[in-house]
């Protein structure tokens, strides 16, 4: 990896250049909640001033730019006795600016399922390869436990990564494209002093983590505690509303429905992201539901995050951003659940 220094003014220039000819997605403040906390979302921006890189976290993750909530897998033209199927993949590049490490890790995890395993998804790959990703370091967000999962720092999966050193950014360059893009503005070489400052900043960020979750032996524990009362306790609270999965940066499951136009001349096969907490996730024709209870569904979500994924890819699916915990009206959150599971074992 190459490193450079970028003055903040030059960074602004860079963003403006990027904005001239590309769609740019960046964190934007969208309001405040009742307690006065600012709320942010990754949204398309048209000027540098709309961007707020000091954001703590976003409510929604960046995944929706790679896995949209709704997407046409194919469309149909019906012509009397025949039909024609059409499939289109994204071709337009897009800048994803200001992603935190957890969101980049989430993409790396999604890559494992959607780009590298059986039946790689051309829809995902096309979006992924058309994304120019600029990450940024930040103070830990409230309740985030990414450090416990090793997703608080990231070494690949981005083009450029920024660490704020006050007047300037310390830039890690991970791709040739990132290097070439950076050539458009003035950068400085990194001195020993800068490196020292960078390491200090990194250390102070790591030290600031408040939330720790013990994930040691978790896959095994989940298996042993399959019948645990913990699920009953938390399951009773679950509203089966799916909000957790909607905001989760790594939840990718979906349902497919099809539709025809009213003139019966066209149709579409539509993919819509789903959640294993929703009541009919595992219902089959005839009405049998393989997971009829809230607690089995909630348990399953944790299984996929912390056990199933580990079995397939040797790491949990969860990146510890705690978005699901924050959004849950019933206050169901991974740190508490995992703590309960660990306690059960003692």
């Amino acid at each position: 990896m190459l490193f450079k220094l970028l003055d903040k003014d030059e960074f602004k220039n860079l963003v403006n250049i990027l904005l001239q000819s590309n769609e740019v997605i960046a964190p934007k403040q969208v309001g405040v909640n009742v307690t006065g906390k600012t709320l942010h979302q990754y949204l398309p921006v048209t000027s540098f001033d709309e961007i707020d890189l000091t954001y703590e976290t976003t409510q929604y993750s960046a995944k929706t730019y790679f896995l949209p909530y709704k997407e046409n897998l194919s469309t149909y033209r019906f012509d009397e006795k025949d039909w024609k199927q059409e499939i289109r993949y994204r071709q337009e590049p897009r800048v994803m600016l200001g992603l935190h490490a957890c969101d980049i890790h989430a993409l790396l995890k999604l890559d494992k399922v959607l780009a590298r395993d059986n039946f790689p998804s051309p829809y995902y790959i096309a979006r992924r390869k058309n994304a120019f990703i600029i990450g940024i370091d930040h103070e830990p967000c409230e309740g985030g436990f990414c450090r416990s999962l090793g997703t608080d720092t990231v070494n690949n999966g981005f083009d450029l990564f920024l660490t704020d050193l006050g007047e300037r950014y310390f830039v890690s360059i991970n791709t040739d494209l990132g290097y070439r893009v950076l050539l458009q503005v003035k950068t400085k070489d990194v001195t020993e002093e800068d490196t020292r400052k960078y390491l200090l900043t990194r250390k102070s960020i790591s030290d600031a983590f408040q939330t720790h979750v013990n994930v040691q032996n978790l896959p095994n524990l989940l298996d042993l505690e399959f019948e645990s009362k913990v699920w009953n306790k938390w399951g009773q609270k679950c509203l089966s509303c799916g909000s957790c999965s909607m905001v989760c940066p790594t939840c990718y499951c979906y349902g497919v429905t099809e539709r025809v136009s009213m003139d019966f001349k066209s149709g579409a096969k539509v993919k819509q992201l789903y959640s294993c907490n929703l009541v009919d996730f595992a219902t089959v024709a005839g009405g049998h539901n393989f997971r009829p209870n809230r607690e089995t569904r909630l348990k399953y979500r944790y299984y996929h995050q912390h056990r199933g994924f580990v079995e397939s890819y040797d790491e949990p699916k969860c990146v510890g951003c705690n978005r699901c915990g924050r959004v849950c009206l019933a206050e169901i959150n991974p740190p508490d659940i995992i703590r309960d599971i660990q306690m059960e074992e003692r």
């Binding site: 009397e80 009773q236 509203l239 089966s240 909000s243 009213m262 019966f264 959004v327 019933a330």
Partner: protein, 255 residues
């Protein structure tokens, strides 16, 4: 449908209004882009909003509105006899809708208050299914035209239509909304059935549950959340009874 070697049929459709605002009927005649095709797919034989034709020969009857007068019962029973498929259209027809609010008042007092010294023939408001058997219920206030179109497409083939069973939160989240609770407002989204694409929270108003309850709603926890966030029982209960879909459900009442 010719690609399936099925010759499309053109079912005869009638639309009748009972006690309602006619908003759902208007929805049927709405959405100009597709209205012509919609009217091509079916043969409308009785529908005040779009034509003056009046025929008693129909297969599918859409009933809008609730039943609130005794003459309406007779009329409904006649329609039921003629229709092969009877569809309750909209919240009022499915649950009684806003009209049902009046059941909470003493009827004669309400009558006097509204109609003064000339009381009208009135009785407790009833949903269509409480009077005659219903083949399909399309909830919503008003109904969602896109959904109606899809249902018509399914009725043409005589196959069932699967309504979403999950709560409004799913569709609300898919619109990137900030949760109404975050903004300090009440919302029935977590217990209300989706399918509307969450226009209310998207527009800054908490959900009133016009499509009735989601499948297996977690009322206990919902009330707990409302309590924790400082909403009074009365406010929650008024919200629950607004459209009549949560009949018999109330916060603070032991089951």
């Amino acid at each position: 449908m010719r690609y399936l070697s099925i010759e499309p049929t053109k079912p005869k459709v009638a639309v009748f209004d009972f006690t309602s605002c006619e908003g759902c009927e208007l929805q049927l005649a709405n959405k100009e882009e597709t209205l012509v095709d919609f009217l091509k797919a079916v043969e409308i034989v009785n529908f005040r909003e779009v034509s003056s034709a009046k025929s008693d020969d129909y297969e599918i009857a859409f009933i809008e509105g609730a039943v609130s007068r005794s003459d309406e019962i007779e009329r409904l029973k006649k329609i039921r006899e003629k229709a092969r498929v009877l569809v309750a259209l909209g919240c009022c027809a499915c649950y009684g809708g806003v009209n049902k609010l009046k059941n909470a008042f003493d009827l004669s007092t309400a009558n006097r208050e509204i109609y003064g010294n000339y009381p009208k023939d009135s009785m407790p408001v009833r949903a269509i299914k409480d009077v005659v058997p219903v083949d399909m219920e399309i909830p919503g206030c008003p109904v969602n035209k896109e959904e109606i179109e899809r249902i018509i497409q399914h009725l043409l083939l005589d196959i069932n239509y699967n309504f979403p069973v999950y709560p409004v939160c799913v569709e609300c989240k898919q619109k990137f909304n900030v949760c109404m609770f975050e903004k300090g407002q009440l919302c029935l989204g977590p217990i209300a059935r989706a399918g509307c694409s969450a226009p209310c929270p998207t527009g800054g108003l908490g959900c009133y549950g016009c499509r009735g309850p989601a499948a297996d709603p977690n009322y206990d926890e919902f009330f707990e959340i409302a309590r924790r966030r400082g909403f009074a029982e009365q406010e929650v209960n008024e919200r629950l009874s607004f459209f009549g879909g949560f009949n018999g459900i109330a916060m603070g009442v032991q089951k």
